[in-house]
Symmetry: C2
Subunit: 492 residues, 2 copies
C-alpha cells in the first residue's frame, strides 16, 4: 500500500500529515483551508460526539440549533468578542448568482442581490444565541438555561493544518445562562471537568486543568479555563476551553430576569467548546512511526481478524471460524472487521491495520485450526501472543481495557517527564529549546512579561494550573514576586 | 399557559405556526428566513437522525464531512445543477471585518479582504463532493462509494415557513458512486425504500413512492424519485427525494474508473436527502387543535407522570410511587418525565403535555394510592382509563405500540380518502377546490400540459406512482392518450 510514513524523529510535522492522509482520516479540499473529513476520520468524530453528548445530557444539558449566520449588527454588539473574531470572518454579502453575460455557461454574483446587512458566518455563536436568550429569559424560573449545539463554524485562518487549525471545523458549543455568578462559575468548572474526564477516559490523553492568562482569554470572557495536553514533540495542545462570560453578553444584548424578589437582574453566562481539533490531539498523543494508535474507546474498529491461507479451501475453513468469533464479539458490543480480501497478502493487511490504529489484530491460519489457537497482536505495544481459540472471545474485553490503560499510562508518564521546573529565564529558554514540554516557572502576572517571553521564546503561558500549590517565588523574567508557578510551552 | 392555538378549521396555516411556537419546537431568528430549532424540536430531530443513521449504516453507508463552501468555479461545473440553485445562493465574498472609521465601535467589511473567487454556501453538495470523488476513484475496486453527510445547507428562499421552507436547514445528503447504471438505479430505489420505511414506521406517516415528472426533477438528475405525504388540509408534502444522477456529475468533474478489463469508464451517481422539513410533515400529519400528536417512536418523552395532591404530605406519598414507576419504565428504555412542580395545577400540566404531544399521561393521586390504581390517558385518542398500579409498567410497551399503530392507521385512512380518481379537467379542478388531496388523473406526459395545469390550478404533478397500474386513458387536459394515471395536488 506504499505506507511511507515519515518518521517522527526526522520530521514530526510531516509525520503528522502523512498519518492523517495515509490513514484516510482527512484531506485538504478545493476550498482554501477547509478539510474533507473522510469516513474513517469521521467515525472517530462520531465516537467522540456520542461520548460527549451523553456526558452533556447527564449533566442536564439539552441540544438546540441556532443560525449559521450572524447579522453584522448583532455580531458587533459585544465589542471584545467582535474585535477578537473580526479579522477572521467569512462574510456573506449577496444572495444570488446570475449567468455571466461575458462568459457563456458561467455564473457571476448578481450585483442587484446585495444584502442590506452583511451576514457573518459564525466563528462562534455567543452573539446569535444571546440575542435569542433575550426572548427566552424573563424570570428566575427560566434559569438556568443549559443548551449545547453541535455545529460547524468558520474562522478564516491563514495557516491551516488538518484537524488542528482549519478554516471550517466541527465542534460543540455550550451556552448557558444563570441567575448568579456563583452558579455560572460552577458550570464553567463543571464543564472543564467533563472535558478533562473525556480527554483522559476516552482519549487516554492526560490533561492539565488551568486558567488562561488575561492575554489568552476568549474574547468577551471574564475567565477562560482550559485543558492542556502534551504532544510527543514536546508542544502543548489546548484541547478544550470553558469560559465564564460574566454579564458581558447580558449587557450587550440586554438580557435580564426578574428574581424571586421581583427585581430585575442581569443574567450570568458561560460558554464551552471542543472541536475536531481533538482528533489532531488524539493522533499526536499516541501514534507511532507505523501509524495511528487509537484508544479502544474511540476506535472505529476494535478487532480485525485476518485469515492466513494458501488455497480457497483453507480460506473457507478459516473463514467459518473467524466469522463465528466475529459474531460473538459483535454480540458483546465490539466492532469487528473480518478482512477476507483474497487479492492482498496478510503482511500487507497487517501493515494497513497498524496504520489505521486498530487496537487488536487476530490472525487465524490452517495450523491454528488444527491447534485450536489464534495469534493475537496488540497495536499499542506490538506484542504478539498465541492464545487458545476457545478463550479468545472471553479475553478481548480485558485486553481492550488493558490497551486503553496502557496508552493512557504511557502518555501520562511522557507528560510527567515533560514538565520541568525552572527558576531562571536562561533555564526556561534552554528547556524549551532542548527538551520542550511544559516549563513550570514563576511569572509576575503582567501582560508585559508574558508578551516579552512570547516574543523571545515563542512560548506562551498555557495555563495557571488549578491544582498548583502556593509557593513564594520570583518571576523568571522580571524578578518581581510571584505566588504560584504557571506553565509555559510552545503550542499548536 | 395561554395556549390559544388557532383551530385547524379556522386557519390551518396559523394553527401550524401556533403549534410550532407554543410547543417550543422552533422560532424565527434575527436572521432573515433562518430558524432557531429549540430544544424540544431538536430532540425530535435527534430521534429522526438516530433512526435514519442506523438505516443508512445497515445498508452499507458511512458518514463523512465535506466543506460548507463551494468555489464558484466548481459550483458552476454541472450546468443544470448550477442553474437550478443559482437564484437562491448565499455568497461569501470577503474574509475579514475591520473597524469602521466612520462609526466608533462598529465594524465594516474590509474591502481589502475580497476573495479572489467567491464561495457559494452549499445549497446541496454534489459539486464539492464529486470534485473530491475524482481523487478517490481510480479503479472498479474503489466502487461503490457509499457516503452520507449530516449537514446544514442554505437556500435563499423568499417565502419561508418554520421547518417547511427555511433559508438554512439541517439535512442528510447521501452521495454514492457506482460502476454501472443498474447499480446506481438500484441504490436510488433502495434509499427511496429506506425513506418510505422511515416515514411509515417511525413517523407513522403513510407515503406514496413515485417518480417526479421532468419538470419537477432535481437539477442535474436523470431521474428523481420521491415520497409524497398527505397533510390534514389536503395539501401534499414532498418528504424525501432520491436522485439517479446518471453520469452528469462524472462528466462535469471528469470522474472515471478503470474497469476489470482495464478500460476507462465514467462513474454513475446518486444522491438522496431528507431534512428538518420532516418535522413540519410530522406535525401536520397527526396533530390536532389541542397540540402535537407525536408517534411514540419519535417522541422525546414517552410518558409523563403527573401527581395530584393537595398538601406537601400527599405530594410526598404520591412522589414515592411515581418515581418508582418512572424508574421501572426508564429501565425498559422509555423516556419518562415526572412533573412535580408545585406551583402549577394538574389541569395546566395536562394541557401542557397535550400541547407537546406526549403519547401517554399517567396521573396519580392520594386516592389512587389507596385503591392501587392510576389514571392513564393516551394523547392520540384522548381516551382515559383507570388501570391497576401494579400492572401499569407492564402495559406501557403495548400501549405505546398501539398508539404508534393507531396514529398510522388514522393517517392512512385519511390519505386513502384523499385520493380521488377523475377523468375530466373539470372534475380535477372541482376536487382540488372542494376536497383537496391527491387527484389521480391521466396526463399526456408533456411539460406543456403540466405547466398549463399548474398555472390554472396551482396543482403540480406530485409523482408518477411506482405501483400505478397500466391503464389506457386520455389526458384530462389535452385528451391525448395516456397509459397511466399520475397524482396531482397542491403542495407545500
Amino acid at each position: 500500500m506504499g505506507k511511507e510514513i515519515t518518521s517522527r524523529e526526522s520530521d514530526y510535522s510531516q509525520w503528522y500529515i502523512d498519518l492523517v492522509k495515509k490513514a484516510d482520516l482527512a484531506e485538504n479540499s478545493d476550498v482554501r483551508g477547509c478539510m474533507v473529513i473522510k469516513p474513517y476520520g469521521y467515525s472517530i468524530w462520531e465516537k467522540m460526539q456520542q461520548a460527549l453528548d451523553k456526558m452533556f445530557k447527564d449533566t442536564g444539558h439539552v441540544n438546540a440549533y441556532f443560525p449559521l449566520f450572524v447579522p453584522k449588527s448583532l455580531f458587533e454588539a459585544e465589542e471584545k468578542n467582535a474585535e477578537g473574531f473580526a479579522k477572521e470572518c467569512a462574510i456573506v454579502t449577496h444572495y444570488r448568482l446570475k449567468t455571466d453575460p461575458a462568459k457563456p455557461g458561467k455564473l457571476m454574483v448578481d450585483p442587484e442581490a446585495k444584502l442590506e446587512e452583511e451576514l457573518v458566518v459564525r466563528p462562534t455563536s455567543e452573539a446569535i444565541i444571546w440575542s435569542t436568550y433575550k426572548k427566552w429569559i424573563q424570570s428566575y424560573r427560566d434559569l438556568p438555561l443549559l443548551i449545547n449545539q453541535w455545529a460547524n463554524v468558520v474562522r478564516w485562518e491563514m495557516r491551516t493544518r488538518l484537524f488542528l487549525r482549519t478554516a471550517e471545523f466541527l465542534w460543540q458549543e455550550g451556552h448557558t445562562a444563570h441567575a448568579t455568578a456563583a452558579e455560572a462559575i460552577a458550570e464553567t468548572k463543571q464543564m472543564l471537568d467533563v472535558y478533562a474526564e473525556f480527554a483522559e477516559t476516552f482519549m487516554a490523553m492526560p490533561v492539565i486543568k488551568g486558567k488562561k492568562s488575561e492575554g489568552e482569554r476568549f474574547p468577551g470572557a471574564v475567565d477562560t479555563y482550559c485543558i492542556e495536553a502534551m504532544m510527543q514533540d514536546g508542544k502543548a495542545l489546548q484541547a478544550g476551553t470553558s469560559h465564564f462570560l460574566g454579564q458581558n453578553f447580558a449587557d450587550a444584548f440586554g438580557v435580564q430576569f426578574t428574581n424571586k424578589e421581583g427585581k430585575l437582574e442581569k443574567v450570568w453566562g458561560t460558554s464551552w467548546g471542543v472541536s475536531t481539533r481533538l482528533i489532531g490531539g488524539l493522533i499526536m498523543a499516541h501514534s507511532d512511526d507505523d501509524g495511528l494508535v487509537l484508544p479502544p474507546k474511540l476506535a472505529p474498529i476494535h478487532v480485525v481478524i485476518i485469515p492466513i491461507f494458501k488455497s480457497e479451501e483453507e480460506l473457507n475453513k478459516v473463514s467459518a471460524k473467524a466469522e463465528s468469533i466475529a459474531k460473538e464479539l459483535r454480540q458483546l458490543g465490539f466492532s469487528v472487521k473480518f478482512d477476507n480480501r483474497d487479492n492482498l497478502k496478510p503482511g500487507f493487511k497487517f501493515a494497513e491495520y497498524e496504520l489505521k490504529g486498530v487496537p487488536v489484530r487476530i490472525a487465524i491460519g490452517s495450523r491454528d485450526l488444527d491447534n485450536g489457537t489464534v495469534e493475537v497482536a496488540r497495536r499499542d505495544t506490538k506484542e504478539k501472543k498465541v492464545m487458545q481459540m476457545d478463550a479468545i472471545v472471553g479475553e478481548i474485553p480485558a485486553l481492550l481495557d488493558s490497551i486503553q490503560q496502557t496508552i493512557y499510562q504511557r502518555a501520562l508518564a511522557f507528560r510527567e517527564q515533560k514538565i520541568t521546573k525552572v527558576n531562571t529565564y536562561d533555564e526556561l529558554k534552554k528547556v524549551l529549546d532542548e527538551k520542550g514540554g511544559f516549563v513550570s516557572a514563576h511569572w509576575d502576572r503582567t501582560a508585559e512579561t508574558e508578551n516579552k517571553i512570547k516574543e523571545e521564546t515563542k512560548a506562551t503561558i498555557r495555563c495557571i494550573p488549578l491544582d498548583a500549590e502556593q509557593e513564594e517565588g520570583k518571576c523568571v523574567y522580571s524578578g518581581k514576586p510571584s505566588s504560584q508557578r504557571v506553565l509555559f510551552a510552545r503550542a499548536y
